[in-house]
């Protein structure tokens, strides 16, 4: 299918009649994922400041509200069933949703807030013709045109997009849009673009998990965290980080329970009521962040919890670069491995 770029605004406006449509929008100098309303102009092609996980797992959300009265207690949960389209997100962000699925629907429990949104959301991702200098998706099993997690993949052909259905849901979605079929020439052009595409930077993570297996007590962690400010931008802006806090907000007899993004980079995150803290300093917290992404997540869900989007690199106030850290880890002598 072909979508002419000139027709994008009209298309999104039409979609917005049936769906809640999220698309990248320029706002106050940032590109953010926003709900498209009449007249809003999508900034397709740009990477969003925040990852697309916020569509399924908002930075702050109300889980349920409650009301205490003489008759007892009334509760109402706030499960969001709105039909949604995420239009023009990056393939790395789409891929992250597959990783998050493991967490929010594990072998025992289902997070109905996440899974309900997930079931009702169509992911239309836009392949990256020009990856940024901080991108390293190809090193972590992704790619600028990777289709993992997408229902539809758009490929930029200059004046137009070629839209490819990835899933049956995507096929059905595209068929409703009455778009012209792509010609052979356009298809060939898209294939050519896909073949050429590669992230701009690389880091070799083969054998990294095995390396980390023997590194819990390694002195490498002693210094790594020294320049880290503990601001947690890396985790908030990470498409695969999923840690959250739960808190109650109440006034008189009315209250609600909210969940907010949280971060393993904060000391309070693991502080016990007794005052004991199993991760008392930046050393343990950095080790946790790295180990979680490249070892624990692999052990638990058989996947690396990094999609190479580069947001943690781009937004770190002290220029800590995870690519460099991974390369350094690989170069450490753990004294136990057989080469």
């Amino acid at each position: 299918m072909i979508i002419n770029k000139r027709e994008i605004a009209g298309l999104l406006e039409n979609l917005a009649k049936e769906y809640r449509v999220y698309a990248p929008v320029e706002k106050d100098g940032n590109v953010l994922l926003e709900v498209i309303e009449e007249g809003a102009e999508a900034a397709l092609g740009a990477a969003t400041k925040k990852p697309a996980k916020e569509i399924l797992f908002p930075q702050s959300e109300e889980l349920f509200s409650y009301q205490l009265s003489d008759e007892g207690l009334r509760m109402e949960d706030k499960i969001d069933k709105t039909k949604t389209v995420a239009f023009g997100i990056r393939p790395c962000d789409a891929k992250s949703m597959i990783l998050l699925d493991n967490v929010f629907h594990n072998d025992q429990y289902e997070d109905v807030y996440y899974t309900t949104r997930r079931k009702n959301t169509i992911i239309v991702s836009l392949g990256c013709s020009e990856p940024e200098s901080t991108c390293f998706c190809t090193s972590v099993g992704g790619g600028p045109f990777n289709t993992d997690g997408s229902d539809v993949l758009l490929i930029d052909l200059g004046e137009k997009y070629l839209a490819e259905a990835v899933t049956d849901q995507g096929k059905e979605f595209l068929s409703k849009l009455n778009l012209p079929e792509a010609g052979e020439e356009e298809k060939a052009e898209a294939e050519g673009i896909k073949k050429q595409a590669q992230a701009t930077s690389e880091v070799d993570i083969t054998g990294l998990k095995e390396k980390l297996d023997g590194m819990f007590e390694h002195p490498y962690w002693d210094r790594l965290h020294e320049k880290c400010l503990g601001c947690a931008a890396c985790t908030y802006l990470c498409p695969t980080c999923h840690c959250f806090d739960i808190a109650d907000e109440a006034k008189d007899k009315n209250g609600c329970r909210v969940r907010n993004w949280d971060s393993c980079m904060f000391p309070l995150f693991t502080l016990h009521g007794s005052g004991h803290n199993p991760r008392p300093s930046g050393k343990e917290r950095w080790r946790q962040r790295l180990m979680h992404k490249f070892k624990y997540f692999v052990e638990r869900y058989n996947a690396t919890a990094c999609v190479g989007c580069g947001r943690c690199i781009k937004n770190c106030p002290v220029n800590l670069d995870i690519r460099q850290v991974l390369a350094e880890i690989k170069a450490q002598d753990t004294g136990s491995e057989v080469s």
Binding site: F64, L73, Y109, E110, D111, I246, A250, G273
Partner: protein, 281 residues
């Protein structure tokens, strides 16, 4: 409301807010199910925990101190430490609280049938141990197990939990109940001495036996070598861990030790299992 939403608590009524210790810092809360169907769904085993919610204040995880053979109620013994526990302590009897659970795994009592059971506890970490004792002493179950030895220590007599029940257990011949306090106190006729030393004196046999141990880190640290000396292998030593928790469902990310979540894969681990995990708890 979605009935399968694991974040939503069930309502329970606080029927007893009992000051358990002399220092008044630990209260035992007896909660009654408000809805019959909630009680039917709340199937638990000793060692599991639940999130207890005070409306408007939030929720916090506590080990369940009651046992499955005490129908109609749940009990929690809670130290006054933070926002939720303080609010609980101040709650009037008759109030409604929320409970979410049961969460976590349990002591593997099913696998321990036919064995002697040694229970070692210290301080106020005796809650799920009480549940275990209550469960094992059930006349329908007691015959499935061999000798039951309990060693329980506190700093002084006033800090022992469940004093009345302990007195009853001391009179029975199907449980060897040993209580100890750190130093002699006037009026105390029981043993004195720290738990590790008392364990050495009592010297329960490791043969065809398992030991469930819960207590402050320092007690565990010094009791472990005693147990090893007595011949207990790491597979025979069963422990319960505590961590800061929020969801209790293995999602919120803060209670992990390596790739294991204390909330979901624990809180009960054998020492053998713990030895395979990083030392970060």
């Amino acid at each position: 409301m979605n009935n399968n939403n694991p974040y939503v608590p069930i309502p329970m009524r606080l029927v007893k807010n009992f000051t358990e210790t002399e220092d008044k810092l630990i209260h035992t809360f007896t909660l009654e199910f408000v809805n019959k169907e909630d009680e039917e769904k709340f199937k638990y085993l000793p060692g599991q925990f639940a999130e207890v919610m005070v409306y408007g204040k939030g929720e916090a995880p506590f080990g369940i101190a009651s046992a499955p053979n005490e129908p109609g109620i749940l009990k929690f013994s809670v130290a006054k430490v933070g926002v939720v526990s303080t609010a609980l302590h101040l709650l009037e009897e008759g109030s409604i609280v929320g409970v979410r659970g049961p969460l976590g795994n349990w002591y593997p009592l099913e696998d321990l049938k036919g064995k002697d059971i040694v229970i070692i506890g210290g301080g106020f970490a005796f809650t799920t141990l009480r549940s275990t004792i209550q469960y094992l002493l059930d006349p329908a179950r007691r015959g499935d197990y061999g000798e039951l030895t309990v060693i329980y220590g506190a700093r002084n007599p006033g800090l022992l939990l469940y004093k009345d029940e302990i007195k009853e257990w001391e009179k029975r011949d199907d449980i060897n109940m040993i209580t100890t306090i750190d130093r002699p106190v006037e009026g105390w006729e029981g043993r004195t001495g720290f738990v590790p030393a008392v364990t050495k004196e009592v010297a329960p046999s490791a043969e065809n036996s398992a030991c469930i141990i819960c207590g402050p880190p320092v007690m565990i640290k010094f009791t472990q070598p005693v147990l090893e000396e007595l011949g207990f292998t790491p597979e025979q030593i069963i422990m319960s861990l505590e961590m800061r928790m929020k969801c209790g469902l293995g999602m919120c990310g803060r209670c992990n030790i390596g790739s294991k979540f204390v909330c979901k894969d624990g809180p009960v681990f054998t020492l053998a299992e713990l030895k395979k995990l990083p030392n970060e708890y």
